[in-house]
Amino acid sequence: MTPNATGVDAVIDAVTAVLLIVGALMSLGAAIGLLRFPDLMSRMHAATKPQVLGLFLVLAAIGLQLREWWVWPVLLVAWIFQLLTVPVSAHMVGRAGYRTKHLHPELLSADELEAVVLRAAGERAAEKAQEAGPDAPHSRNGGHPGGITGDSRPKGNGGASS
């Protein structure tokens, strides 16, 4: 950290260079994956994993170069938020992609979700047919308590009530 120690400076610069290059390679890997993978969900793998590591390496390089202690907490918080948000967005895209059939079934060696989704869809269709009223469409996204739409189930433990 002493400014006149040129040896240390050179080492830090070298480490920074390596970090930046590997981080950029990770982004390149993600881009190649986006181009080459056959369907949406494989592409989500490419869009999430190398990019998280790439960001980590680039942030580490920034931290090394700025040499101020206060950048480290900022960089750490930025990376943790990345860790927290990337799986969620990948999950939402993957979920929507699966439901809208943006996948190649012939490339799946096993699919244990298909039957569940079909069953849930069947139950929902049956419900809709039962209601058979003009207000049927709005139940399309409504809570289907026991089914696969588990995230729309009301929280049982929050005691949320008026």
């Binding site: 990770m26 494989s42 990948a90 060696s109 433990n157």
Partner: protein, 188 residues
């Protein structure tokens, strides 16, 4: 707004995190700034209604540190694996969607497992069924049944490690009863 009171102790990790974010964003960790941040954290946590996160009240640091190290290693491995598959396998990669039932029914544990699983090699959460606490995982490069079994075991190992770090007593006991030795390492 009625809300079940959660104890200060279970809320403390959230408040500490909010204060750390506050300090980091202001780039100022002086006591005055932190006290003000803590004040705002308490106000935010009191006013804004969110379902309370049910922490179990225990957190095993000795198990958390090796878990974090292994996790970071796996993130690196995941990146290189995806890169390798992208370049050398590309369009012909074979995948699978696998249902993995979890032991725990706590939202926090299912969420944490899903997050970790999404960041380690070859798996991505497609769907969560809260009522049965089942994760539907999309596995990259899963070619046959033995790969499927491996993926399923990896997810359940991850959940086991997380339970050992911050699961409730009941979950720990269930884990023990299942025959997972407590001394088992975090890696699969």
């Amino acid at each position: 707004m009625s809300r079940r009171r959660i104890s200060f102790r279970t809320e403390l990790p959230l408040l500490v995190w909010l204060v750390v974010v506050w300090g980091a964003l202001w780039r100022d960790f002086s006591p005055g700034n932190l006290v003000f941040g803590a004040l705002i954290a308490v106000i935010v946590a009191r006013i804004f209604y969110l379902p309370p996160v049910e922490l179990s009240g225990r957190f095993n640091v000795l198990r958390a540190i090796p878990f974090v190290v292994v996790f970071l290693g796996k993130v690196v491995a995941a990146s290189f694996q995806v890169m390798y598959l992208a370049i050398f396998r590309g369009p012909s990669v074979t995948n699978a969607v696998v249902a993995v039932p979890l032991r725990s029914h706590s939202d926090l544990m299912v969420t944490a497992t899903g997050h970790v699983i999404s960041l380690i090699p070859g798996s991505l959460v497609v769907e969560v069924d809260r009522s049965t606490s089942t994760l539907y995982i999309h596995g990259l490069n899963v070619r046959n049944d033995s790969d499927t079994a491996k993926l399923r075991r990896e997810v359940q190992d991850t959940e086991a490690s997380l339970i050992r770090i911050m699961g409730t007593r009941a979950e720990m006991d269930a884990l023990q009863a299942e025959g997972w030795p407590a001394t088992r390492g975090v890696s699969s």
